[in-house]
């Protein structure tokens, strides 16, 4: 992998992100990654606690609009994450924890999508069928609750994995250690 890392680290984008003293370089990308995380994970938290029975007065079908916010957060973090990866490819890709983080994010997204499907009910094509009863929180399928609890645990794990990346890396760039 080293030739690939060498090549990426030599590109002008990577060099600029790493070495520019401007706050609009690395610091700004980090800010984007943090704000994106807050909205991406935050909306998942709101969904999960609602499905678990917290504040059942929130109509689930109306809460679904917040998926837009969740996906906005996701894309902010996908883009800023790729930029961070371009800045320090060796640092991330030589750390097994980085792959664990990506896997956990994938699992978390699968949970979020499956919870939404559970709430919609199997095969209900129209927006209204089955939703009147879930509005009062009495009809959340048990599987959705299990998924919501697993989802919360998953996002906690993602945050730990992400934060620990800075402390578990062995190589910073191709020719420097962490």
């Amino acid at each position: 992998m080293d030739p690939l890392f060498t090549w990426i680290e030599a590109t002008s984008l990577s060099t600029w992100l790493r070495e520019s003293p401007s706050l609009w370089a690395f610091p700004f990308v980090l800010i984007l990654h943090t704000v994106g995380l807050a909205f991406f994970v935050g909306v998942n938290v709101a969904w999960d606690v609602r499905v678990l029975g917290f504040s059942v007065g929130i109509p689930l079908d109306a809460l679904r609009r917040y998926f837009l916010v969740m996906w906005a957060g996701f894309w902010i973090n996908a883009v800023s994450g790729v930029l961070l990866l371009i800045a320090y490819p060796t640092k991330a890709l030589t750390n097994p924890l980085f792959y664990a983080k990506l896997l956990l994010i994938g699992v978390g997204i699968v949970f979020a999508v499956r919870i939404r499907r559970q709430i919609q009910g199997p095969g209900s094509g129209t927006r209204d069928s089955g939703l009147e009863s879930t509005t009062q929180g009495t009809n959340v399928p048990p599987l959705a609750r299990v998924l919501a609890a697993a989802s919360l645990a998953c996002w906690i794990a993602v945050i730990f994995a992400g934060r620990l990346l800075a402390y578990t890396c062995t190589r910073l760039t191709v020719d420097s250690t962490c």
């Binding site: 943090t34 709101a46 929130i58 109306a62 402390y167």
Partner: protein, 155 residues
Amino acid sequence: MYLRSTPQGEFLRTARWGWPIFESLHFIGMSMLLGTVGVFDLRLLGFARRIPIAALHRLIPIGISGFAINLITGFCFLSATPDQYLFNLAFRWKVTFIAIAGLNVMIFYARVFRRLLETPPDTPPPLAARMAGAVSLLAWIGVMSAGRLLTFFRP
């Protein structure tokens, strides 16, 4: 300095995984805060109007818990290396943004909230509510940005 000698400060400086674990908790608290208060702010701005304000407001205790986690972990960071924060421009910005958010919350509960509960769902929120939502969102984004900048403004 007194703060440095406190047990929590000592713990964060010496325990191998103390600092990263507390940082992770700080990020979890942040997600709890933005996932509830941020979601509520968007509703104040008129997003997802079909959700009754009172029902969404019931999520706020989770946000307050998140803020409490962050106040505690944040105080521990400050105790561990006080001079890294007290003379740090980004830290001052962060505290200023938290103060703005706090002031905004007080004005919101004193002047806006009760009136807002009487407005039926599906109607556009009054201007004062939209203002409170916008100020809160911007203040918390400011808090997160300043927090992220701390390491770049280290004295």
